[in-house]
């Protein structure tokens, strides 16, 4: 009986793994097939010469280059805001927060995690309206506002991953450094954070991925279809997910639709590159830590 149950459970988990993998491969294959043909310089730069476009000497029409730049800037800016704050909050929750505070804070984080991105977009939009009427009449939706709202959107992933990772570390590890005379800060920076590096990294990857693909937030906070390269953090900008959404909704020809698939593939590759970058960084740091190179 128990044997039968075990093998049933095994079969189910196999099925789950195979289904998931299959679906992912199907999606990637579909995107690759439809998008691959569109992957050429014209997809990125339209009729503008590539070098002139990259160096921003000539504007790009009908190409996704500005959207690529916009998305990368947006994700970097959002990460810059969210990662330090998220890590710090996670650390606080895991190591310092006194009991009752911790419960309230954790509740707040869960609430934040439950907010749909369109609501976050509306929040940003309302914020600008409010600013316009009160402190800053010239305020407008822009790259910085989008990045701020995105940062708020992905903050819970970072906080929860950091907190759970640190809390899951063996309590001996916490004690080891302290027993040797480390200060709590040294213990955190030189032992706990590096030991939890992998878990924190997956939080960062989740956050970056989420920030790169989100459309609802930026839709209401500053993205436009044709802005060219972002002029600054207070300017409008283009972004890949919005571009894809736009093309999918309004494509008037097969060529435009193909461009949509191409853009989707590029977005996928771009996030993959960001992940690889994060993974590589974490790996290098971990190696250095294990061999003490960086530290002394």
């Amino acid at each position: 009986m128990i044997k039968r149950l075990t093998s049933l459970a095994q079969a189910c988990s196999w099925l789950a793994v195979v289904t998931t993998l299959g679906l992912v491969l199907l999606l990637l294959g579909f995107l690759g097939l439809r998008g691959f043909d569109a992957l050429n310089p014209a997809l990125f730069f339209g009729k503008t010469p590539a070098w002139a476009a990259i160096t921003a000497r000539l504007p790009v029409w009908h190409g996704i280059w500005p959207a690529c730049v916009g998305t990368v800037t947006l994700v970097l800016l959002a990460s810059l805001l969210a990662i330090p704050l998220g890590l710090a909050s996670g650390i606080y929750l895991a190591s310092y927060a006194p009991g009752p505070w911790k419960r309230w804070f954790a509740l707040a984080v869960e609430l934040l995690a439950a907010i749909p991105s369109i609501v976050m977009g509306l929040f940003g939009f309302a914020l600008i309206l409010f600013l316009k009427k009160t402190l800053a009449p010239q305020a407008n939706t822009c790259l910085l506002l989008s990045a701020g709202c995105l940062a708020l959107l992905v903050l819970p992933y970072l906080i929860l991953m950091t907190q759970t990772t640190l809390e899951a570390l063996p309590s001996e590890l916490r004690l080891t450094g302290l027993s040797l005379g480390f200060t709590p800060w040294q213990n955190l920076v030189h032992i706990l954070l590096p030991a939890g590096g992998r878990g924190i990294l997956s939080g960062v990857i989740l956050a970056v991925g989420r920030a790169a693909e989100d459309t609802a937030v930026i839709l209401l906070t500053g993205v436009v279809a044709n802005a060219g390269l972002p002029s600054g953090i207070l300017g409008k900008y283009e972004a890949l997910p919005f571009h894809i959404f736009y093309l999918a909704a309004e494509a008037r020809s097969d060529a435009e639709l193909a461009q949509g698939f191409g853009a989707a593939l590029v977005l996928l590759l771009l996030t993959a590159a960001l992940f690889l970058g994060a993974y590589y960084l974490q790996n290098t740091l971990a190696k250095a830590w294990k061999q003490k190179d960086l530290l002394i």
């Binding site: 080891t176 450094g177 027993s179 040797l180 480390f182 200060t183 530290l295």
Partner: protein, 259 residues
């Protein structure tokens, strides 16, 4: 071995009326004891009688657990000066460095063998980079581990055997130049041979440190101890001298008493 032991050494650790509790449950009650430099004092007692808690009271490590509370006085002679560690503002990092502790199970850092020693040297003592390798080697030699690990200092520390891990922990503590050594069941998971090696090591160190060692083996206590404390339910039930320990009838009494 015990030839030049002075008869009444001035103690370097004085514990008076120590109470430790966790979450309101008292684990050590009104415990008083003294420990002398150049001696090994072995603490014996049933599981749960508070031996580890007592050691942790000497470097204030109990405070790292939630709900711990400590009363009483613990005075240590550090660098020739008496310090009341629960009353004076002696920095915790300084205290824990001077009162080195090897825990009941090897607590390795998940880094290389060398980094396990180098990291505390760098962070706690602030040694400059160029002095660290010599210090690491010195401590490994002192802990009789050098020959076994000299050719694989960059290997992960957890690839060492249990006994080697224990000695690595000891080396790590010795590298910080402590004055008092707390050793919690250093041979708990070792076979007889490996245990003897660790015991030999402790004996070779006792001239220079005040050593307080917890043990669960009476025969080990007889090999190591200059004095022994028997713990029962969180206080000292009895104090035995080396001679007491060797006497066969105490042995019988002790066996019935603790085990």
């Amino acid at each position: 071995m015990e030839a030049k032991r002075p008869v009444d050494l001035e103690p370097s650790v004085r514990v008076e009326h120590l109470h430790v509790s966790f979450g309101g449950r008292e684990v050590l009650h009104d415990l008083s004891a003294q420990f002398a430099p150049g001696e090994i004092t072995v603490i014996l007692g049933r599981s749960g009688s508070g031996k580890s808690t007592f050691l942790r009271a000497l470097n204030r490590l109990n405070e790292c657990f939630p709900g711990s509370a400590t009363r009483g006085s613990v005075r240590l002679k550090l660098q020739g000066q008496w310090r009341d560690i629960y009353r004076e503002a002696l920095p915790l990092t300084e205290l824990r460095r001077r009162v080195g502790m090897v825990m009941q199970t090897p607590h390795l850092l998940p880094v290389s063998i060398a980094a396990n020693l180098a990291l505390p040297l760098k962070l706690v003592l602030g040694l400059p980079r160029r002095e660290i390798p010599a210090r690491v080697a010195g401590a490994l030699k002192e802990a009789h581990l050098w020959e076994e690990v000299a050719d694989r200092l960059d290997a992960p520390a957890h690839t060492l055997s249990g006994g080697q891990q224990q000695r690595l922990c000891l080396a790590r503590v010795l590298a910080l130049e402590p004055e008092i050594l707390l050793v919690d069941e250093p041979t708990a998971s070792l076979d007889f041979r490996a245990s003897l090696k660790v015991e030999e090591l402790l004996l070779s160190l006792k001239e220079r440190y005040t050593i307080i060692a917890v043990s669960h083996s009476l025969s080990q206590a007889r090999r190591l101890a200059d004095a022994a404390l028997i713990f029962r339910d969180g206080s000292v039930a009895e104090r035995l001298s080396r001679e007491d320990l060797q006497a066969p009838d105490t042995l019988q009494a002790l066996l019935e008493e603790i085990f």
